[in-house]
C-alpha cells in the first residue's frame, strides 16, 4: 500500500497556492485577508511538517516519487521528495520559524499599500515554497531548483522597495553572487552525472557508487559543492552580498538571511556528508574557510553602527562556525547550530525590527540608546537572544557552539583557539549592540522619542515564542558529559549522519573547555558593559576605520573584477566589434566596390585598345597552348 508520507507534496504546495492567491489577487484582497492566507498556508504546512516529523521519528522515512522531471537516455531525474530525519528537521525549522515571521510581518509591513503588501506575502510564500523544495528534494537537481528559487526570492525581497536603486543594486549583487556559487554547484552535478550517471541521493550515496569515485573526483566534486555553499551561505569569498541584503524588510532578513536560506549550504554539505568524509582535503578547506569567515565577520561586526549590519555580520560569523563544524566532521553539531541559530538570530532580527519600527525606520544605533524603558519585551527578548548567541549555559547557543568548539578542539587545538577567540568577539559585539541600543540615554530626535512604543501583539508574540525557543532549544542536544543520552539530535540524525565512535576528548578536558569558554564570555560581557553602558559617539580612527569599512573588501572586488570586465566589454563593443567583426565584412564590400571602379577603366571606349587587348590575350593563350602545356 502507498506510504502515508506520499502526501508530503502538500507541504510545498500550500505555500505555492498562497503565493498564487496573494500574487494574483493582491489588488482585490484586503490586507487582513492577505495576511491570514499568507500565514495560514505556512501554518498548515507547519502542522503537516510536525506530523511528518513524528512519522519520521516513528522510523517511517520515504521517497515520494511524483513524475519524471528530466529523463534523457540513461540519465533519469525524477521529481521526487525525500523525507528522512534531516529533511524533516529542516522542515520544522523552515515552516515553524517561517510561520512566526509571517505573523510578525502582518504587523510590521502594515503601512504598505495593499498591493505591495500582497506582493510581499506572495514573495514570502514563494520563498517558503522554494526552500521546502530545496530541503525535500531527493536529488541534487531538485535541490538546485530550490537553491536557485530561494536565490530568486531573496533577490525579489531585497529589492522589495524597488524605487530605491541602491536596494535594487543590492538585490542584483545578491543574485549574481549566488549565481557564481550556483555555477559551481551545477558543474558538481555534471561531474557526478559524468561519473555515476545519476543524481539522486539514494543512488549516489551508496557504498558501491562512492567506491567508483577516485580521490580527485571526490575532492573536486565536494569542493565545487562547497563553492556553491559559500555563495548561498555567505562565506569567503562570496559573503559580501549578505550585509547589503539588509536592504530588504527586516522580517525578510530574519527569515531568509538569518534563519533559513543562508543555512542551505550547511544543509547541502550535511546531506552529502558521506562524500565529504571521503575528501579530507576538502574538509580542511571547509574548516579553514569557515573559521576565517567567522573571524573576519566578527571583526567587522565590532565596528558597525547599523543595527541590522551588525546582525548580518554576526550571521556570517555564525555561519562560519557552522562550516567549521562541518569541516571538523561534526555535521550534527552544524545542523544543531543551524537550529539554535535559527531561533536566536531570528529573534534578534525581529527584535531589531521592532526597534526600527519603534524608531520609525531609524537603523543607526548611535541615534538610539535607553530603549529598554520603552520597549520592555523587545529588550528582554533581545537580551535572551544575546545570551544565547554568546553561549551562556543553559541557553540554546551554548550547547551548539560548545559542540562546535569541541569538534574543533578534536581536529586541532589551534582551530579551537581561534574559534574561541571569535566566540568571545561575538559575545563582545552582540552586547555592544545591546548596550548601545537599550542602555544609556536616548540620542535620537524628540518626535522619535515620544513616538517610541512597543509593537502590537502580532510582533511581540513571535518574539516571545522565539525567546522561549532560544532558551530551551538547546536541550535536544545536551552533551554526553552533562547528561547521559542527552544528545537526542545525534541519535535522531544517525541514519543520515553516521556517528563515528565516541569523542576522543576525555570528559575532564571537555568540562574544562566548557568552563573556560563560559568564563571568558562572561568576562567579555562585563567588559562590554563597562565600555558601552553609556555610549558617546566617537569618530573611528586607524584600524577601527578599516573595520568600519569592512576591510575594504567591496572596493577590492570592484577593482580587480568589475573594472576589468567592464573595460573588456566596452573594448569589445566599441573597438573589436566595429573594426574587426564588421570591418572584415564591410571591407570585402568596399574592396568589391573599389575594384569595380578600377576595372571599368578597362572599358576605355577606344576600338584600338579593345582590339589590342583581344590580340594580346590571344597571343597569351596561344603561347600557353603551344609552348607551355605541350
Amino acid at each position: 500500500m502507498q506510504n502515508v508520507l506520499q502526501i508530503v507534496y502538500l507541504i510545498p504546495l500550500l505555500p505555492l497556492i498562497g503565493f498564487l492567491i496573494n500574487g494574483l489577487g493582491r489588488k482585490h484582497l484586503s490586507k487582513s485577508l492577505i495576511g491570514i492566507i499568507g500565514s495560514g498556508v505556512v501554518l498548515a504546512s507547519f502542522a503537516i511538517s510536525i506530523w511528518v516529523f513524528l512519522q519520521v521519528k516513528g522510523g517511517n522515512t520515504h521517497d515520494a516519487h511524483y513524475f519524471d522531471f528530466i529523463n534523457v537516455g540513461s540519465l533519469k531525474i525524477p521529481f521526487e521528495f525525500k523525507i528522512d530525519q534531516l529533511s524533516s528537521l529542516f522542515l520544522l525549522i523552515i515552516t515553524g520559524v517561517g510561520f512566526l515571521i509571517h505573523v510578525y510581518s502582518t504587523a510590521y509591513m502594515h503601512e504598505e499599500k495593499t498591493e505591495h503588501f500582497g506582493r510581499y506575502f506572495a514573495y514570502l510564500n514563494l520563498f517558503i515554497f522554494s526552500m521546502l523544495l530545496l530541503v525535500m528534494g531527493s536529488n541534487f537537481v531538485i535541490m538546485f531548483i530550490g537553491w536557485e528559487g530561494v536565490g530568486l526570492c531573496s533577490y525579489l525581497l531585497i529589492g522589495y522597495w524597488f524605487k530605491n536603486q541602491e536596494y535594487n543594486k543590492a538585490a542584483n549583487k545578491a543574485f549574481i553572487m549566488n549565481r557564481i556559487g550556483d555555477l559551481a554547484f551545477l558543474i558538481a552535478i555534471f561531474w557526478i552525472i559524468n561519473k555515476l550517471g545519476t543524481v539522486s541521493y539514494s543512488e549516489v550515496f551508496t557504498a558501491a557508487n562512492l567506491a567508483k569515485l577516485n580521490t580527485t573526483d571526490v575532492t573536486v566534486i565536494t569542493l565545487l559543492l562547497f563553492v556553491g555553499a559559500t555563495g548561498k551561505s555567505a562565506q569567503i569569498p562570496l559573503y559580501t552580498w549578505l550585509p547589503d541584503a539588509m536592504a530588504g524588510p527586516t522580517p525578510v532578513s530574519a527569515l531568509i538571511h538569518a534563519a533559513t536560506m543562508v543555512t542551505a549550504g550547511i544543509y547541502m554539505i550535511a546531506r552529502s556528508n558521506l562524500l565529504y568524509s571521503l575528501a579530507p582535503i576538502t574538509m580542511d578547506v571547509v574548516a579553514y574557510i569557515g573559521l576565517a569567515t567567522a573571524l573576519l565577520a566578527a571583526t567587522i561586526a565590532l565596528k558597525q553602527n547599523d543595527i541590522k549590519k551588525v546582525l548580518a555580520y554576526s550571521t556570517v560569523s555564525q555561519l562560519g562556525f557552522m562550516f567549521l563544524a562541518l569541516g571538523c566532521g561534526a555535521y550534527t553539531a552544524a545542523v544543531f547550530h543551524v537550529m539554535t541559530h535559527a531561533f536566536f538570530k531570528a529573534l534578534m532580527f525581529l527584535g531589531s525590527g521592532s526597534v526600527i519600527h519603534a524608531m520609525g525606520g531609524e537603523q543607526d544605533i548611535r541615534n538610539m540608546g535607553g530603549l529598554s524603558k520603552k520597549l520592555k519585551i523587545t529588550f528582554i527578548t533581545f537580551l535572551i537572544g544575546c545570551i544565547a548567541i554568546a553561549g551562556i549555559p543553559p541557553f540554546s547557543g551554548f550547547f551548539s557552539k560548545d559542540a562546535i568548539l569541541l569538534s574543533a578542539f578534536e581536529k586541532n587545538p589551534v582551530l579551537y583557539g581561534i574559534a574561541l577567540f571569535t566566540a568571545l568577539l561575538t559575545a563582545f559585539y552582540m552586547f555592544r549592540l545591546l548596550f548601545i541600543t537599550f542602555t544609556g540615554k536616548f540620542r535620537g530626535t524628540h518626535d522619535q522619542e515620544h513616538h517610541l512604543h512597543e509593537g502590537p501583539a502580532a510582533m511581540t508574540i513571535p518574539l516571545i515564542i522565539l525567546a522561549v525557543l532560544s532558551i530551551i532549544g538547546g536541550f535536544v542536544g545536551i552533551p554526553e558529559v552533562l547528561m547521559h543520552g542527552g544528545d537526542k539530535l545525534v541519535e535522531f540524525l544517525s541514519p543520515v549522519i553516521p556517528v563515528h565512535g565516541p569523542s576522543t576528548v576525555s570528559h575532564s578536558t571537555e568540562l574544562m573547555l566548557m568552563g573556560l569558554s563560559t568564563g571568558l564570555v562572561v568576562i567579555m560581557i562585563i567588559f562590554a558593559w563597562f565600555k558601552f553602558k553609556n555610549y558617546q559617539r566617537t569618530e573611528e580612527t586607524g584600524f577601527g576605520k578599516v573595520l568600519e569599512n569592512k576591510w575594504y573588501v567591496d572596493e577590492l572586488y570592484e577593482k580587480i573584477i568589475l573594472k576589468p570586465l567592464n573595460w573588456l566589454g566596452s573594448f569589445f563593443n566599441n573597438v573589436f566589434e566595429k573594426s574587426v567583426v564588421d570591418g572584415l565584412v564591410n571591407g570585402v564590400g568596399r574592396m568589391v566596390n573599389y575594384s569595380s571602379r578600377q576595372l571599368r577603366l578597362l572599358q576605355s571606349g577606344q576600338v584600338g585598345n579593345y582590339v589590342l587587348l583581344m590580340v594580346i590575350s590571344m597571343v597569351l593563350i596561344f603561347v600557353l597552348q603551344f609552348f607551355i602545356r605541350k
Partner: protein, 457 residues
C-alpha cells in the same frame, strides 16, 4: 526547315508590307501574326510534320535540341514583339524594315542552332550580325547609336576574320567542314587543328561577349536603341551560345581535355569582369549590359563541363535569361530616365510592373522558385559532376552573390526609395503580357520538366 524558310519569307513579306501599308499598327499586326505562325510551324516540326523536304545532308540537321531552342527563341521573340514592338516606332521611320531585319536574324538563328557544317555556321553568324549592325545604328540622329554600330561593325568584322582563319586552318588539318568528321581527328591532332579550334573559340567567345573578347558588349548594348538592345542581348546571344556549345560538342568534343582549361580561364574572366564591373554602373541599361556578360560567364560553365546536364541546362538558361531580360528591358524602354534613381518610388506608382520586374530581377539573380535559380543550379551541377573543378564553382557562386548586389539595387530603388521616376503609362495589355511572362518564369522555376519533356518524349 519549316521555320528557316518561313522566316526568310516573312522577312520578304515585311519588306513589302513596309512599302504597301503605311499604317504602323497593321504592320505590327502582320509581324506578330507571322511570328506566331513561325512558332506554330516550328512546334509542328517538333511533332514531326515537315512541310519542306529539303536535303541538307551534311549541312544542317534539325534535331530536337535545335528545334527546341528555336521554339524558345521564337517564343521569346514573340513575347518581345508583343511587349516592345510598339516602342520601335520611336526609333526611326523604317518601321517595317526593322521587322524585316528581325525576321532575317531569326533565319540566321535557325541556321546557327542547327548547323552541321562550318559553312552554315559562318553564314548563320553573318546573317545574324549584319542586320544587327544596322539595327544598332538605326537611330541615325543619335551619335551614341552611330558610334555603337560602327564599333560593333569593326570589331565584329575583325572577329569574323578570326573565325574564318580558324575554319581555314581546320579545313587544312581535316579537309572537311563537317563537324562530325572534324571530331574524328582526335588522336595526335595537328597544330593546325588546335590553332583553328582556338581561333574559333576566340571568335565565338567574342560573339557571346565572353571576356577578354567582351569589350564591344557594354558600348554596343549601351549605344544601341534600347528596343534592339533587348533583342540582341537576349535571343541573339542565346542563339550564338547554342551554336557555341554545338560546335565545341560536335566538332571538338573529343578534344575536350585540350580546350577545357581555356574555357575555364575564359569563364573565370567573364564572371569576374562582368559582375565586378556591373557593381559600379549608374545606368540600369549599362548595368544590364554588364550583367549580360556576367550571365554569359555562367553559361560558359556549360561549355567548360561538356555533359548532358550542361546542354539541357543551357537550354533552360537561355530560356530563363531571355525571358527575364526581355521583361526588364520592356519596362526599361518605357522609362525615360535609365539611371537607378529613375526607378525610385516605382513600386508606389506601378505596383504591378514593379512586382513583375522584381520577379525578373530575382530570376536573374538566381533566387529559388524562379527559372533563373534552376538554370544556375544546372550549370553548377554540370560543373561539379564527375569531380569537376570545385574552386571554379565556388568562384562562380561568389560572383553570383556579387550579382545580387546590383540586381537588388533596382529593387531597392523601386520599393524602398521615394522619388519622381517619371514613367509613361503602360497599356493593360502590356501589363498582362508581363504578368504572363513572370508566371512563365516562376513556372519554369518550379516545374522545369515543362521544358525538358520536349527533349525526349
Amino acid at each position: 526547315m519549316n521555320a528557316l524558310i518561313l522566316s526568310a519569307l516573312l522577312g520578304v513579306i515585311m519588306m513589302f508590307s513596309g512599302i504597301l501599308l503605311k499604317d504602323k499598327k497593321s504592320i505590327r499586326g502582320i509581324a506578330i501574326a507571322g511570328m506566331l505562325l513561325l512558332l506554330v510551324m516550328n512546334v509542328l516540326e517538333i511533332c514531326g510534320t515537315v512541310f519542306f523536304k529539303v536535303n541538307t545532308e551534311g549541312l544542317m540537321v534539325f534535331d530536337r535540341y535545335a528545334l527546341l531552342f528555336n521554339t524558345i527563341a521564337y517564343l521569346s521573340t514573340l513575347i518581345y514583339l508583343l511587349l516592345s514592338a510598339k516602342d520601335m516606332e520611336k526609333v526611326g521611320v523604317n518601321y517595317a524594315e526593322y521587322f524585316t531585319l528581325i525576321f532575317f536574324i531569326l533565319c540566321g538563328i535557325t541556321l546557327t542552332s542547327s548547323f552541321k557544317s562550318l559553312l552554315i555556321l559562318f553564314l548563320g553568324i553573318e546573317i545574324i550580325s549584319i542586320p544587327l549592325y544596322i539595327l544598332t545604328g538605326s537611330d541615325k540622329r543619335n551619335l551614341k547609336s552611330n558610334e555603337a554600330s560602327l564599333k560593333y561593325f569593326l570589331l565584329g568584322a575583325f572577329s569574323t576574320g578570326l573565325m574564318l582563319m580558324g575554319i581555314a586552318l581546320i579545313y587544312g588539318a581535316t579537309g572537311t567542314f563537317n563537324t562530325n568528321f572534324i571530331n574524328l581527328y582526335y588522336e595526335s591532332p595537328s597544330a593546325l587543328l588546335i590553332a583553328g579550334m582556338l581561333l574559333l573559340l576566340f571568335s565565338m567567345s567574342f560573339k557571346v561577349s565572353a571576356a577578354p573578347f567582351h569589350f564591344w558588349t557594354p558600348d554596343v548594348y549601351d549605344g544601341a536603341p534600347t528596343v534592339f538592345t533587348s533583342f540582341m542581348a537576349t535571343i541573339v546571344k542565346a542563339a550564338v551560345f547554342i551554336a557555341f556549345i554545338r560546335l565545341f560538342d560536335e566538332a571538338f568534343g573529343s578534344l575536350h581535355a585540350r580546350w577545357q582549361l581555356f574555357a575555364g580561364i575564359i569563364t573565370v574572366a567573364t564572371l569576374f569582369i562582368g559582375n565586378i564591373t556591373a557593381v559600379f554602373q549608374q545606368s540600369v541599361k549599362r548595368m544590364l549590359a554588364y550583367s549580360s556578360i556576367a550571365q554569359a560567364g555562367f553559361m560558359m560553365l556549360s561549355l567548360y563541363s561538356l555533359n548532358t546536364d550542361a546542354k539541357e541546362g543551357l537550354l533552360l538558361y537561355t530560356a530563363a535569361y531571355s525571358f527575364a531580360t526581355i521583361g526588364i528591358f520592356a519596362v526599361l524602354i518605357k522609362m525615360n530616365d535609365y539611371t537607378f534613381d529613375g526607378f525610385n518610388g516605382f513600386a508606389k506608382k506601378q505596383p504591378l510592373l514593379a512586382a513583375t520586374t522584381t520577379i525578373f530581377l530575382l530570376s536573374l539573380a538566381g533566387i529559388p522558385l524562379t527559372a533563373g535559380f534552376l538554370s544556375k543550379f544546372f550549370m553548377l551541377k554540370a560543373a561539379l559532376a564527375g569531380g569537376g573543378n570545385l574552386w571554379l564553382v565556388i568562384f562562380a557562386v561568389l560572383m553570383a552573390a556579387v550579382s545580387v548586389y546590383y540586381y537588388f539595387r533596382v529593387i531597392q530603388a523601386m520599393y524602398f526609395k521615394d522619388g519622381e521616376g517619371a514613367f509613361i503609362q503602360a497599356s493593360p495589355f502590356f501589363k498582362a503580357t508581363l504578368v504572363v511572362l513572370a508566371a512563365l518564369i516562376i513556372l519554369l522555376g518550379i516545374y522545369p520538366e515543362l521544358l525538358f519533356y520536349w527533349i525526349y518524349f
